[in-house]
């Protein structure tokens, strides 16, 4: 049955209040025809505008960099290398954030991502796994990530646990299991292929950046060009309406957490390659980095709206701030305060934009967050 859902329905259901009747296709067609409706509702217009704001923030950060360290920025090859370094350092959190964005758009939250990365990383670097070579290591990292994500999804969709609680429990449990497996030691990866993932450049660009790009493109297509993506928006915007529109909300929620887990598995391979090792305490607080990046990227924490590109820009902005503070030799305490400030500012700007936009369009039935 669910395969037959008209694709327009979930998209439409997203903005409607809970008591709305199932969608009338004719009305949808009318609304689409007016053009204006799809301009502000779709991923195109407003999202693009917000992303322009993020790009502007990025430009400001780079200008600050140029002003504070003209000696470094005067060197073109340094600037190129630095840009690649920023992207490389953003790559692991970036992959995690793509999965996180799906979960948040779908109306959930995943606090266990850092722990899943650690568990998958530890699992793929045990002596036994390493004996299977690079293929075995990658397979186990991805499978562990996916499996933990499925467990999260089952607890939330079929066990009816609140996502916050279920993934918080998973965060503690997965780190515990990782510590148990690794016997609390740092497990060094002796696999040259795995370690090479972090040091290989293809056409002058690090392999890690390609992996990030591939995940982002896949995520973008999945969110914007497939039924799965439309359903995600629908489920997050209004689960009841989505259910009435014929979406299997539970199964879809399960898939979202599985997707997030799989992203963590990919990130675990990347992080293990970068650090040439894994341990239970790795990927510390990545859940917060990923959530923060998604939020400043314009993803609504209550679900139903968000963009992959916005999340990517969010990650890159944080990575650029870290870089900016590093090249100026400033303390990380100040850096964390600035990061916090940027999160608050981004959300404030979004709210103001969103409110004025809805007022401008005179559409009161649209709920502001």
């Amino acid at each position: 049955m669910s395969e037959m859902t008209p694709t327009a329905a979930p998209e439409r259901a997203a903005g409607l209040p809970a008591q709305s009747p199932p969608v009338d296709p004719a009305e949808t067609a009318k609304a689409e025809a007016s053009g204006r409706l799809s301009w502000w509702r779709g991923d195109g217009g407003e999202g693009a505008k917000r992303n322009l704001g993020l790009l502007a923030t990025l430009v400001v950060l780079v200008v600050i960099g140029i002003l504070t360290r003209p000696d470094l920025y005067g060197n073109a090859s340094w600037v190129w290398g630095n840009t690649l370094t920023i992207l490389k350092l953003a790559s692991v959190v970036g992959v995690v954030t793509v999965g996180m964005t799906f979960v948040i758009i779908g109306g959930g939250i995943d606090l266990s991502v850092g722990a899943i990365v650690a568990l998958a990383g530890v699992w793929c670097t045990t002596v036994a796994t390493q004996s299977y070579g690079a293929g075995g290591m990658i397979f186990s990292a991805l499978t562990v990530g996916l499996a933990v994500g499925v467990v999260n999804g089952l607890l939330i969709s079929y066990g009816r646990l609140v996502p916050f609680i279920a993934t918080l429990a998973m965060m503690v449990a997965a780190r515990g299991l990782a510590a148990e497996i690794s016997d609390k030691q740092t497990q060094v990866s002796n696999n040259q292929f795995i370690n090479g993932i972090a040091s290989t450049n293809v056409l002058g660009i690090p392999l890690l950046v390609y992996i990030l790009a591939a995940v982002v493109v896949a995520g973008w297509v999945l969110l914007n060009r497939t039924t799965f993506g439309r359903r995600t928006v629908a489920v997050g915007g209004n689960p009841e309406a989505a259910r009435l529109a014929g979406i299997n909300v539970r199964r879809h929620t399960l898939l979202l957490y599985a997707l997030s887990g799989l992203c963590c598995g990919i990130a675990a391979v990347m992080l293990t390659a970068q650090a040439t090792s894994a341990q239970a305490a790795m990927a510390n607080l990545y859940e917060l980095d990923a959530i923060a990046a998604a939020i400043i990227g314009g993803t609504l924490l209550s679900g139903g709206r968000g963009t992959i590109i916005g999340s990517l820009l969010g990650v890159v902005i944080f990575s650029t701030i870290t870089n900016l503070f590093a090249i100026n030799g400033l303390s990380t305490e100040a850096q964390n305060m600035v990061k916090g400030g940027i999160i608050v500012a981004a959300v404030l700007v979004q709210q103001v934009q969103f409110r004025s936009l809805t007022q401008f369009l005179g559409r009161n039935r649209l709920t502001t967050t």
């Binding site: 290398g81 699992w123 002596v127 036994a128 299977y132 609390k184 970068q274 341990q279 510390n284 870089n323």
Partner: protein, 350 residues
Amino acid sequence: MTQHSRDLSRRRLLFGGAALSAGVVLAGCTSNEQTPTAAQTKAAATGGNSEPGKKVTIGFSAPAADHGWIAAITNNAKAQAAAYSDVELKSVEAGADAAAQRAALSTLISQKPDVIVLLPHDGKELNAFGLEAMKAGIPVVNLDRAFPDARAYRLQIKGDNYGMGVAAATYIVAQLKAKGVSNPVIGEIPGIDSLELTQERSKGFADTLAANGLRVANRRPAEFTADSGQQAATGLFQALPKIDALWNHDDDQGIGVLAAVNQANRKEFFMVGGAGSKKAMEDIQADNTVLKATVTYSPSMASSAISLARLIGQNKGMSDLVELQVPKEIVLASETITKENASNYLKLGF
């Protein structure tokens, strides 16, 4: 319809089977069997203090390990206790924080051990426990994290964080002088910056450099983990296109720092590590990385603490000293391991 459902069941069988076999393979992958690192114990020699004496029950508590160093502390204590025929070790998990450790310790007291060896979560918070135990007539051996109150412990044995910084800076200054580098660029990658031990290490480092007219050009803190070390080092390399010397506080995070060195293809500087892990010592001995030295903060102190606790329990002194009792405070010197002496230290690496 029947066609459809049969497809579905086949698909389920396929996916179910795949999931099951993946699970079986994965479960087999958690084994970590390799030659166990010989714990840093002192073999019970014959004669003198090593002669089996009065039976001593030692209570032991250290925080749950999330890091190689703490894991080595617990392993060493257990191994050293096992080396004595007259020592029985009662180990309690310290839990996640000071409150949990206090609860665990009160059960330990009720078992009436002869001596308690304790690595507290926080020396200040567990000071009261030390007082209580001492009052109950159980000598307390404080491992590494000092109690502020001198009445709260019978013996304190700890490493020297400030001295680590001094040792690292001393080695760096000597090397730079030998190379005749003028105006050197010195980088620093500390561990978790909010910890007192990190601040002491950095202070010792900065003070010693300042005494030689040098300063740290940039410091990027990591979190004692390899992945954070890699990220901190990558940031540092962007900030400093040319480095002469680098001190990384912790050899565990040093795995990541060395990975970053390879990834950024930087070879122009030399690096000093901290703590003294086995891998760091092997790297120093092999002399094929930028890591040329490490300054110790050895978890072997746990083995020594058990040996001394046994002596306290048997009412004996350290036989090389004149005094009839074990001293009250022992601060281990931070030693500098280089290629020349690495072979002597390998057995102490964790």
